[in-house]
Amino acid sequence: MRSQTTFEREPARRVFAAEFRETRYQFKDGDDEKSPTYVIFPTGIRSNRVFIVGTLTEKQRQGDQNVFYRGRVVDPTGTFFIMAGSYQPEAMQQLARIEPPAFVAVVGKPNLFTTQDGNCLVSVRTESITVVDRETRDLWVLDTARSTLDRLDAFGTTDDSRKAMEEYGTQVPHIYRKIVYDALTQVQM
């Protein structure tokens, strides 16, 4: 039995860049100021934390007074944009220390930003970033492929995925199965 007061940490979802980049739908669970904000990924799961592993190809320091770092992390399907600012000092300093290119593991929060002309920019607000090895990257591709396939198998049967179907269309399983397959073929046997 779990009492209501017990705090449960949000799990870090596994998602490929190609899917993450398409994310458009964001909602708040509850009316409270501190209620968590979630995005729903096209394959139909809510997330307020992600775990990604890829190659940091580029990083940039930006801002004068409010220094923050931007970076690009590449996986077999595309690119994640990550950032770390003064609200994540640990992550920012970790990122400052890493020289690209390097395999990195990133834990962070999905962040949705709509531009004035209606485009959606999706990035990861970094909580932590660590240098890892190629094997960890490969394990992550397998892990993410498995999670994505699990979600596709359940597509249309859960609340979140029905919402995803409304938002992203019924072609989702078709598109993402192919993306998963292509991602896997890039992992060396």
Binding site: M1, V132, Y181
Partner: protein, 408 residues
């Protein structure tokens, strides 16, 4: 249901007991409660029935609660009638409580309180009673039987033998529970009023226990199996503990293979919490608490002769569930490829001190995939073994089949 129906029902009940009630009086009392005071009819019926029962000195009326119920089946919010044996009496916590304790039948046990205002005769330990029209509510997360002025208590002459049913530790719920368990840890008491505290274990799991100081309470012997009848199961912050002051406990023959309830968890280590790395522990025997940076122990104050230790408090996450894990020194040494001696050496010479170890360990384990085995205790996986997950080409092949094998 309307007032006249209820009036009729109450009158019949009283007549059945040999009284001659005045229907008009009943009806006007009901009306007063319902119309003037906004009481709902069911509650009004109960209260008028109870009042009249006292006036006419008849018992066994209650309304819907005269049916005898097994204790294990009653739930909060009900009016009930039970028959049970008083198996524990505890000192009342407040002057408005006349008696508190535990009453049990063959199906289970429940805590009870008797309000001072209820003016019911005190119950004696070890005797059977019939309790009619008591109300069940929830006190500190556990069902509790309230004996109030509308409750009738009668002593039963029978003394049926009562065998408490033993509950596996993993299945305990807040309230009252009986266990057969072994004392696996005896902790140093931290409070003057406490006699003993530690851990009890059976095949299904482990639980913390406490015995408060009391005239006739004795310590449990370490490594001994006990039958513990009618302990109080408390819940605090989602964790259960057993208070043995209400319980009878007798040492038992035999041994128990304490179930470590070993579970396996796979995932990526996504967070290393503060308090990981090199830590200082209190040197007082049996304490072992973590000291603050200023060497302060919450119990034994400043302890300059601390000893160092390594540990990791982290979160292992499989994408669906984030799980707290705690790793002890041997496991940390292996995962982070650093021994305690090396860590101490570094901490004492590096300008960052103990922080340096925290960062090194974080860099070594964060973002990596592990399989952890251990026992779950207090919402945390206490890790007994932890192995990095290796890349398996077979899995890649299986996933390729899964992704490409189905019609696209």
């Amino acid at each position: 249901m309307n007032i006249s129906e209820v009036t009729e029902r109450i009158s019949r009940k009283l007549e059945a007991k040999g009284a001659q009630p005045d229907r008009q009086k009943i009806e006007s009392r009901l009306r007063r409660l319902v119309e003037e005071f906004g009481v709902n009819l069911a509650e009004a019926e109960r209260s008028v029935t109870a009042d009249l029962a006292r006036e006419y000195k008849v018992s066994g009326l209650g309304n819907t609660s005269t049916e005898l119920r097994p204790i294990s089946e009653i739930t909060p919010g009900e009016w009930v009638t039970i028959e049970g044996k008083v198996v524990a009496l505890t000192p009342p916590l407040s002057p408005s409580i006349a008696q508190s304790g535990i009453i049990a039948d063959s199906s289970g046990a429940i805590r009870f309180v008797t309000w001072t205002r209820s003016n019911v005769p005190p119950m004696e330990f070890g005797h059977w009673y019939r309790i009619e029209s008591a109300v069940v509510d929830v006190y500190r997360g556990a069902p509790n039987l309230k004996i109030h002025s509308g409750t009738t208590i009668s002593r039963l002459e029978e003394d049926a033998p009562l065998l408490p049913s033993i509950t596996p530790i993993a299945d305990l719920k807040p309230g009252v529970g009986s266990v057969r368990a072994k004392v696996i840890q005896d902790w140093e008491v931290t409070n003057d009023r406490m006699l003993q505290t530690g851990l009890l274990g059976d095949e299904s799991g482990i639980i913390k226990f406490v015995i408060w100081k009391d005239e006739d309470k004795e310590n449990l012997e370490p490594d001994t199996v006990y039958n513990i009848y009618y302990a109080t199961v408390d819940e605090y912050n989602g964790r259960l503990s057993l208070v043995l002051n209400t319980a009878m406990y007798i040492a038992d023959e035999g041994d128990i293979e304490v179930g470590r309830n070993e579970t396996e968890s796979r995932g990526a280590l996504v967070h290393v919490a503060q308090g990981s790395g090199l830590i200082k522990r209190c040197p007082v025997e049996g304490c072992n608490r973590t000291l603050s940076r200023q060497n302060y122990c919450p119990v034994h104050e400043i302890q300059p002769n601390f000893r160092y230790d390594l540990r990791i408090k982290a979160v292992l996450d499989d994408g669906n569930r984030a799980r707290n894990v705690l790793m002890q020194r041997e496991i940390v040494e292996k995962l982070a490829s650093i021994t305690l001696e090396e860590a101490i050496q570094i901490a004492e010479t590096n300008p960052l001190g103990m922080d340096e170890i925290f960062y090194r360990i974080g860099n070594a384990v964060l973002g990596r995939y592990y399989t952890c085995n251990g026992s779950e205790f207090g919402g945390r996986l206490l890790v007994n073994s932890c192995t990095p997950i290796r890349f398996d080409p077979g899995e890649l092949a299986a996933l390729l089949n899964r992704a490409g094998g189905e019609p696209a």
